[in-house]
Structures are given as C-alpha cells and as structure tokens.
C-alpha cells in the first residue's frame, strides 16, 4: 500500500464515519429543525472528506473535485434554509418545543412574494 492510498483510506474513513454520525442524528433527534442541523453541518463535512479522498486518488480530477466541494459548501446552507422556512410554515413543532415568540408570524413585516407580470 503506497502513501497515496494510505491518505485516501484515512480521508475516506473520516468522511464515512462523519456521514454515519449525521444519519444517526437525523434518525434520532425529535424535531425537524434539530434533524436539519445534524444533517447540514455534518453531512457537508463528511461528503467533502470523501470527495477529497477521490481527488487524492485521481490527481487529474483535482480541479473538478474542488469545484464540487465549493458547490456543496455554497448550496448546502441554501437548501437547508429553504427547507427550514417551509417546515416552519407547514408543520407543527413538538409540544415541549413550542415557540413562545414566533418571529415569522404574519404582521406585515414579511416580504410578500413578487407578483409575476402578466405577459401579453
């Protein structure tokens, strides 16, 4: 086993273990928001370690894999924030996790979605 393969194995092991912890958190936590927290941070770190392992093993694909890691770091928070907004609108939290101050209740402070211009 060469040094390159050893580095690949170490990075891939770290990534797979972090993804396993993330999945266990998604299965175990009691609320949608805790699940999203566990999934977003840990899942992004785990998949980045796996992709960097592949990039170490195939050096000619290094630039593409770095682009993929940057894409995950950019799109992960966007997707998680979108799911959080939708979950707050569409679901009820657990009984012991009720919000006493609802920051997103409709008091006129929320930006209404823009109406589309009628074409034609």
């Amino acid at each position: 086993m060469t040094t390159l393969e050893a580095i690949t194995i170490i990075l891939a092991t770290i990534g797979v273990l972090i993804m396993l912890i993330s999945s266990y958190g998604v299965l175990r936590f009691p609320d949608v928001f805790m699940r999203m927290h566990a999934f977003s941070k840990a899942g992004t770190l785990g998949i980045s370690c796996l992709i960097l392992a592949a990039a170490v093993y195939y050096p000619e694909y290094l630039a593409r894999m770095i682009v993929l890691v940057v894409l995950f770091f950019l799109t992960g928070p966007i997707a998680t924030t979108a799911i959080a907004r939708a979950a707050l609108r569409a679901s009820t939290p657990e009984d012991h996790l009720h919000l006493t101050i609802n920051e997103m209740q409709d008091d006129g402070m929320i930006k209404k979605p823009r109406k589309r211009k009628k074409t034609g």
Partner: protein, 90 residues
C-alpha cells in the same frame, strides 16, 4: 496485510448502513419536511457511494456522474421546499 480494495469495500458497507438509516427516516417521517430532509441525505449518500465506487473499480469517469448527481439533488431539494411553502400541507 489487509488490502486496499478490502478496506474500500468495508467503507462501502458502512456507508450502506448509513443510507439505510436515512431510508428509515424517509419511511417513518411524520410529515413532508422530514421526508425532504431524508431525501437530501439520500442524495448526499448517492454522491459519496459513486465516489467510493470510482476509487474501487479504477473508473475515474464516474466522478463526473457524482458532480451531476450533486447538482440534481440540490435542485430537487429546492423544488420540494418551494412547493411546500406554497402548499397548504398541514
């Protein structure tokens, strides 16, 4: 001495267990946002498994498939979230 391929196969097995946990959440999530989180988790696992299979079988062309799968998973998650905001799913 344990071989490199055996270790990669072992990691694929552990990742399969993790994917099974995601599918359990997909089955018993009480409402649609929980299932959306599970869907996002499953797309991440698909990207990771494609990367591991590319290392295992000496096929670096599969990494392009991983890139496309990542973009498509993000688009699917955004579509589901946007649909949930507009719908009256209580």
């Amino acid at each position: 001495m344990i071989s490199f391929d055996f270790l990669i196969d072992l990691l694929l097995g552990v990742l399969t267990v993790s994917l099974a946990l995601g599918f359990i959440r997909l089955k018993r999530g009480p409402d649609v946002p929980n299932r959306t989180v599970a869907f996002d988790l499953i797309t991440l696992h698909a990207v990771g498994m494609v990367a591991l299979i590319a290392i295992r079988h000496q096929a670096p062309m599969l990494l392009d498939i991983a890139l496309v799968a990542a973009v498509l998973g993000f688009l699917g998650t955004m579509l589901l979230a946007r649909y949930l905001e507009e719908s009256d799913e209580k």
